[in-house]
Symmetry: C2
Subunit: 265 residues, 2 copies
């Protein structure tokens, strides 16, 4: 039986580096598809390109216009393949309009000096934290087991930090597309600051993939720990920065710029 | 008399959204031009496009291949202009090859609820900190007054944090191009961890501009305070995340993925 996530990120390869995808209602957001599933589908497509080099190192996805339900075409270009990395650009086209643009870097993992400076938040194990549901109208969130250690949106907070155990529901071994999707699984930080939903949407998302294939394999279907926070809010926008941990391994760092509108504005 | 920074970011508008720039030896790096000056030139060009909407909100620049000394052409595309923001893509072409790709979002600042959660490092005033020089072979750094509060590369450190007062030298009022350049003015964090220079280069840079035009005007020629740190190093790459402050105003947040090679590797 195919996992719903794999259904959602399925692409068909067309000629000339084009991949056709179809939105999946299981990953709908309030308006259009969840941005994380779009990003995951892009990564899945690039990984399936016959000329791909190595694994994802970075992804930037710009959400230009709403994606409508139905099919969309990803137009990919390999700009240059260097010895250890490969630069991509892409657009997402739907009914003659560009709805997303972006770029990616893939590359080879080489053995080098290594250290992780970031500190994983010290939190109770996932089994010790209650899973919560999001409201019914956020369809995509039903595909994640979410256990908030902090910032669960149950109360307005002066601190926009959310720290949350996340896992695909049903369980699914972690891979680059799944990790990609999770880097957008933090709801807009203004919701937490205001204790309520409000009009908001990601404008641009950038994710750096630190995880190697072996680290993803070791992660299996265990919960990852995500922690996200905004730095500055104002003038209609804010940023948020997040880390995703698998055990003591920093799997990904990610940042996004988000549009928002005051509830009364 | 024209400031050397303005000389360096000068562009000539050609037809069809193309801008021609020329590298400036005053902003050379160890290999090719300083990435910050390339990014600043892109922002300067986009700001001069007749159809630009508002101010820079975000910029992603992918360093695909080395930029050679001489002219380069920036090919810009306005993908879509929404009510409050505008999405751009661009490439930098030099002698028939694409040496950079990227995307930008420009937009309007609207009055909304606002708060800054990030905390500015508490540090002595710039006047109380000694200015330092970088080695002669890092030409671009001579155009900045640099006063390190932490992480000056004078000693190897287990903490990759640099906190530094920065100002154009000679003084120049802060604007979006200058701010852009400063978001790449943090040397690769591996230098600090190893206490030495080593082969390293930015692969991709993303900057979010939080500053409004009024805030930039208020900043004038005062020093900005930058603070940068890496989260994870290994497998030939690392990330760094930085903030740039003007007084208590968070002007920009920025992140980059950097390639490096072990000195012995």
């Amino acid at each position: 039986m195919t996992h719903v996530f794999d259904e959602a990120i399925t692409v068909a390869a067309l000629p000339d580096g084009v991949f056709r995808a179809t939105t999946h209602s299981a990953y709908d957001n309030m308006v259009g598809p969840f941005g994380g599933i779009t990003a995951a589908t892009v990564v899945n497509a690039l990984q399936h390109h016959p000329d791909v080099l190595g694994q994802p190192l970075s992804l930037t996805l710009n959400y230009v216009a709403p994606v409508a339900s139905g099919t969309w075409d990803l137009h990919t270009t390999i700009v240059r393949t260097n010895r250890t990395n490969q630069h991509w650009t892409f657009t997402i086209e739907q009914e003659g309009a560009t709805v997303s643009t972006g770029s990616a870097v893939f590359g080879i993992h080489r053995e080098t000096w290594a250290d992780t400076e970031a500190q994983r938040p010290q939190v109770p194990a996932p089994e010790a934290v209650a899973a919560v549901d999001f409201p019914e109208f956020i369809a995509w969130a039903r595909n994640y087991d979410k256990r908030f250690v902090a910032g669960s949106l149950e109360a307005k907070s002066d601190d926009s930090t959310s720290t949350v155990w996340l896992r695909d529901l049903p369980e699914r071994p972690l891979d680059y597309p799944a990790l990609t999707s999770m880097t957008d699984a933090f709801f807009p930080r203004v919701f937490l600051r205001h204790g309520t939903y409000m009009p908001a949407g990601t404008i641009t998302l950038t994710t750096y993939f630190h995880a190697t294939p072996d680290e993803l394999a070791a992660q299996g279907t265990d919960h990852v720990l995500g922690t996200a926070r905004g730095a500055r809010f104002g003038n209609g926008h804010f940023d948020q920065y997040a880390q995703i941990w698998g055990g003591d391994t920093l799997l990904a760092t990610t940042t996004q710029l988000v549009y928002f509108k005051d509830p009364q504005g």
